[in-house]
């Protein structure tokens, strides 16, 4: 659950920003990490993971690197790869640290050479259990984590010390705007709403609750239950989305029209049932997508 991200002095979790070799960092993803850290008064652990498999590849006799332009491929070597990695890491980390400093957020950076999932699991275990992993590159089809060498499903499965994973589509461009918490079960209403409210303090928007429900007949009853659950929370902005007539794509359109910033939803829920569903949905919204277990 995401009700809690550790505060800076708790030593029980951080916002872990995962950076890797896959090109530029996604700007909104980095911004999301900073806002989360602000919201939960936490700190950022910026981890650049040098995928060990790349170094194994570089040792193969026929290993070649194909540049992004597709022209002028070259033979790979461990040394050249290490040099490129360091330079890339240095540029990314500097950007992250500068932005964290500007936002008055504590941040530290490190470089780890390992398999990505293992590296993240280790980092989160050091400070667990209240970590949030932010994927620093734009999500892509398939793995939903870009070409960083690990899939989203693997992360949820293997990185135990995390309450959720934040991803951003390639066109995500803001964290400001309403924070929409998407729930499908009544028992998640309160913690999701609290998390949304907390994030909203850092992004400047308001917190909204969207309940996804297939059964039109249950919608009024559910709304009543939710209002009961939220008790005297003032001014709750609450909507029931009829999923019998909507799809994840249309819901994403509604969110965009609502000017949504952060969207919080459950990995495995109606909007992100499988890791293959995550990237198409994230591509359609303008803010980061916070996936919780």
């Amino acid at each position: 659950m995401i009700a809690h991200v550790a505060q800076a002095d708790e030593q029980r979790g951080r916002v872990v920003l995962w950076l890797g070799a896959a090109g530029e960092a996604q700007d909104t993803a980095v911004e999301a990490a900073v806002r989360l850290a602000q919201a939960f008064e936490s700190e950022i652990e910026s981890v650049f993971i040098e995928d060990r498999q790349l170094f194994d590849l570089a040792e193969l006799p026929f290993a070649r690197e194909i540049p992004l332009s597709g022209r002028g491929s070259r033979t790979m070597s461990r040394d050249a790869l290490a040099r490129d990695m360091r330079a890339h890491a240095s540029a990314l980390q500097r950007n992250v640290l500068d932005r964290a400093k500007a936002a008055d957020v504590k941040a530290q950076a490190r470089i780890v050479r390992d398999e990505p999932v293992k590296a993240l699991a280790d980092v989160c275990a050091e400070n667990g259990p209240w970590n949030v992993v932010t994927v620093g590159s734009a999500v892509r089809n398939g793995t939903a984590t870009g070409h960083n060498g690990a899939s989203l499903a693997e992360l949820f499965e293997s990185v135990h010390g995390t309450t959720g994973i934040v991803v951003a589509g390639s066109r995500a461009r803001r964290t400001s705007g309403p924070v929409i918490a998407v729930v499908e079960e009544l028992d998640r209403v309160v913690p999701m709403m609290r998390a949304a409210e907390r994030i909203a303090t850092a992004t400047g928007g308001d917190a909204r609750l969207w309940l996804l429900e297939h059964d039109e007949a249950r919608q009024d009853w559910i709304e009543g239950q939710i209002r009961l659950a939220l008790g005297n929370t003032p001014g709750v902005n609450f909507e029931v989305v009829d999923m019998s007539v909507n799809t994840p794509r249309s819901v994403a359109g509604m969110m965009r029209r609502a000017g949504a910033g952060f969207v919080i939803t459950r990995f495995g829920g109606m909007l992100a049932r499988r890791q293959q569903d995550v990237a198409p949905f994230a591509e359609l919204i303008d803010g980061p997508l916070f996936l919780v277990r």
Binding site: A58, R64, E65, N141
Partner: protein, 847 residues
């Protein structure tokens, strides 16, 4: 026509070698024949306020403009009417702000009735921003165009982001992005998938992609791979090579796809923006459809905005607030569309402009380009173009003080270039950038056609210099307007003068001046004019006196409501007193005997001349002793001032003329076998002018005739070779200078000044001198020839040639002739003795 001295003076001992005679002179007024003293009526033309026909200036209608300058006005009118651009006008006259103001008022009157010129603007040249376009518009429409464009751009800054934020636009954009990115990514993913099927991993590196054999989802370690059979390794390698080729092809095609994507996005942007752009610009384009250049500019704007509409697309959440706050002139995205109004007129009926270039720097004349701070550096564009006086005066007239424009580096040449070319071309200053700085690309604005009449104000001295040194001047300035400094006195002009005084009173908000005060001002104007029958029309000096008089009328003791003659007198007196230190010093030097001037007795070879000292507008006369000595020689006069380079050319000319007179009159039968020396005693500064030539001649004749001259008289006047005495300048001050010395020592009744008869019209002497003359304590004599001065100074007749061709022996001329003859004979004797003894000179003796 008079000689001047610089203000420095020194005391020194008197020359020792002047021959003094004990001969007693008889009083001139006792000589009943010859030149008589001038009557008091000739010494000053007084004006009675009662004759002027008004009580105070409040009764008069103020006069303005160029009074009594019909010739100059006709010239100005002609110059303004001539369309040719080389018929510019130059006004010649003493420097005066009131004069240029009067010319300006006259020109403005003509200009007001003329057709107003066009407005001019500079706009961006969308094809070549380094060369901004100049566009001419009918009067009054430049501001409309500028405002219209500004409003349109502000409107677009608000509406375009909204258009780009619309769901429709974003959906279509997303579709394009999706289409291209999807196609590209799908292709990459397809390679991934095919690779995965063949147990090949595609891994991302910082600079690209790498491919490696995979087992159970992990890259096969190198040591494991090397254990595989060679055939298998070759197979893996072969498959990887194929997949790499596929990936390379996909990546290489990405730029083409991106190009297509960008083109589609541009088309989408244009489509999204078109409606808003047309909405914003259509009414403006319709309003300027009658002006092809303006219409073409608006069409350029429309085209450029459509091509760059993304410039307007800020984040839609910011759009509303940004639109409200946008200042296009400060926003680099929008500056290019704005209009820089260089010249704007209210409308064509407002008449032609008349401007004055008060500070005629080159940049103030032809305009300049003012770089704008842009971060840490400076940038420049068409909005940085600033107009000059020529732009503002284009189609009308520009008034410039010649001295200022010619003394400002580059300004005169720049003005001539513009007039010659008939266009105003603004050139970048050509500054050299600081070391390491990137030079700014120079802006070359399109020149603006120039049709202006330039009116230059010269003082006469300057005009001579420019005509001599600058041949282009006369090619560009062909109309001379010569301003008279004086106005002939008659009842009408006296009235005009009084009305000008009234206008000065109005202009400065002073108390009215009574008729007596105006009369006194007219007397002073006649004195300034150095002509009893004229009035000086440089009203600046009159204005100064009036304002000072007003001050004194307002003083504690007066508190008067009207400025009277007494206040005018006091103002004049106070002015004199403020400037009088030097004159007092000279007077004191004379009185204490440091400056040797005799005002009584007689002396041979010595005479009182009169010099004029000038200090700004203030001038005064002072006596100067001239001595002459003669001796046997070969016909040469030594002008000591010239020898020591203290004598100016005009003074030397005077000395040569007097020598010509002597030779012509006395050396027809005998050679001039004399040598003479002439000197201004106790003169240590430059002497210029020939007004002392009469005095020098008389001193020389006194020495030759061995006849003493009366020291109680002083003389001023220049002579010609015929012995006629010619007018000089500053005659009033010169007389006053000698009078003051005599008065300080006590007027004897025999003292006086001899002046050229031609100077009688210049006499406007002080009242105290007129009074002294009236009381027979001082006298002024006017002479026409040098012979008329001789009896006055010597008591002897000058002498005329008799039937025998000789002067009478007891006349001064006779004595001179006799002395010259004696010199000639002695020279002859000396010459024959020398030739007999074989000595012809110092050189022959040694030979």
């Amino acid at each position: 026509m008079f000689f001047k001295r610089l203000t420095k003076s020194k005391s020194a001992s008197a020359p020792a070698a002047v021959v003094e005679s004990e001969v007693k002179t008889s009083l001139v007024k006792e000589a009943k024949v010859g030149v008589q003293p001038l009557p008091t009526s000739a010494l000053r033309r007084t004006i009675d306020g009662k004759d002027l026909g008004f009580k105070t200036t409040a009764d008069l209608e103020p006069a303005a403009g160029l009074v009594g300058q019909e010739r100059a006005l006709a010239a100005i009118d002609f110059g303004l009417s001539m369309r040719a651009r080389d018929f510019n006008i130059y006004v010649v006259g003493a420097p005066s702000s009131s004069k240029s103001a009067a010319v300006r008022a006259h020109v403005a009157k003509i200009a007001a009735a003329s057709q107003g010129p066009s407005d001019w603007v500079y706009v961006n040249n969308f094809e070549d921003p380094r060369r901004p376009r100049a566009i001419s518009l009918p009067a009054g429409r430049a501001a409309m165009l500028a405002k219209g464009v500004l409003v349109a751009i502000k409107e677009l800054a608000a509406t375009l982001p909204t258009a780009f934020a619309s769901e429709d636009y974003r959906a279509r954009r997303r579709a394009i992005e999706e289409e291209f990115r999807g196609a590209h990514e799908d292709a990459v993913d397809a390679v991934h998938a095919r690779a995965a099927q063949q147990n090949i991993a595609v891994l991302r590196t910082p600079l690209g992609f790498g491919m490696a054999p995979m087992h159970d989802g992990k890259v096969v370690r190198p040591d494991v791979f090397s254990q595989l059979p060679e055939a298998m390794r070759r197979d893996v390698e072969k498959r990887i090579t194929v997949l790499q080729g596929e990936l390379e092809t996909i990546l290489q095609n990405a730029p083409n796809a991106d190009k297509r994507r960008r083109r589609q996005l541009t088309e989408l942007n244009e489509e999204a923006a078109r409606h808003a752009v047309e909405e914003a610009l259509d009414s403006l384009s319709a309003a300027f459809a009658d002006l092809p250049e303006a219409a073409s500019f608006l069409a350029d704007i429309e085209k450029d905005i459509l091509a760059n509409s993304a410039l307007f697309a800020v984040g839609e959440t910011e759009a509303t607030s940004a639109a409200a706050q946008v200042d296009p002139s400060q926003d680099a995205r929008f500056r290019r569309y704005l209009v820089n109004v260089i010249v704007s007129h209210k409308d064509a009926k407002a008449g032609a402009p008349v401007c004055e270039a008060a500070h005629p720097l080159l940049s103030n004349l032809v305009g300049h380009i003012e770089p704008q701070p842009h971060g840490a550096a400076f940038a420049t564009d068409f909005l940085a173009i600033k107009p000059g006086a020529l732009h503002r005066a284009n189609g009308g007239a520009l008034l410039i003080d010649a001295r200022r424009v010619m003394s400002t580096p580059g300004a005169w040449d720049g003005l001539k270039r513009a007039l010659e070319a008939g266009e105003i071309r603004i050139e970048a200053a050509g500054e050299v950038p600081a070391q390491g700085a990137v030079p700014m690309p120079a802006l070359e604005p399109e020149p603006i056609p120039l049709a202006v009449k330039v009116i230059l104000f010269f003082d006469p001295e300057q005009l001579g210099a420019i005509e001599q040194n600058d041949p282009e001047f006369s090619q560009l300035f062909k109309v001379q307007a010569d301003l008279d400094e004086t106005l002939a006195r008659n009842a009408d002009n006296d009235r005009v003068f009084a009305r000008l005084v009234a206008s000065l009173v109005d202009e400065h908000g002073l108390k009215p001046i009574d008729a007596g005060g105006v009369a006194r001002l007219m007397e002073e104007a006649a004195r300034f004019a150095e002509d009893r029958d004229k009035l000086f029309m440089e009203m600046g000096r009159i204005s100064d006196i009036i304002r000072e008089a007003d001050f004194w009328a307002d003083s504690e003791s007066r508190k008067a409501k009207v400025t009277s003659v007494g206040d005018i007198e006091r103002a004049l007196k106070e002015r004199t007193r403020r400037n009088d230190r030097l004159r007092d010093h000279v007077q004191e030097s004379v009185e204490r005997g440091m400056l040797l001037v005799d005002t009584g007795g007689v002396k041979t070879g010595q005479i009182n001349a009169l010099s004029l000292v000038q200090k700004g507008h203030f001038s005064f006369g002072r006596p100067a002793r001239i001595t002459a000595r003669v001796h046997l020689g070969q016909g040469r006069v030594t002008d000591i001032e010239r020898e020591v380079e203290l004598g100016g050319p005009l003074h030397s000319k005077g000395v040569m003329i007097l020598w010509g007179y002597l030779a012509g009159r006395f050396a027809q039968d005998v050679p001039l076998a004399l040598a003479a020396t002439l000197v201004f005693e106790q003169s240590y500064d430059t002497v210029e002018g020939d007004s002392a030539s009469a005095a020098e001649l008389l001193a020389l004749m006194s020495s030759l005739a061995d006849t003493p001259l009366r020291q109680e008289l002083a003389i001023t006047g220049s002579i010609n070779q015929l012995g006629e005495v010619q007018a000089v300048g500053g005659v009033n001050e010169k007389i006053e200078g000698f009078f003051d010395v005599c008065a300080a020592r006590g007027l004897s009744g025999t003292q006086g000044v001899i002046i050229p008869d031609a100077n009688r019209q210049n006499l406007m002497l002080r009242e105290d001198i007129v009074k002294a003359v009236r009381e027979d304590r001082f006298a002024i004599y006017a002479i026409k020839t040098i012979d008329e001065a001789i009896p006055l100074l010597t008591g002897l007749e000058a002498g005329q040639r008799g039937a025998d061709g000789r002067f009478g022996a007891d006349t001064v001329n006779g004595r001179v002739e006799a002395r010259l003859k004696a010199f000639a004979e002695r020279a002859l004797t000396f010459s024959s003795v020398s030739s007999k003894s074989g000595t012809q000179g110092p050189g022959a003796a040694s030979a």
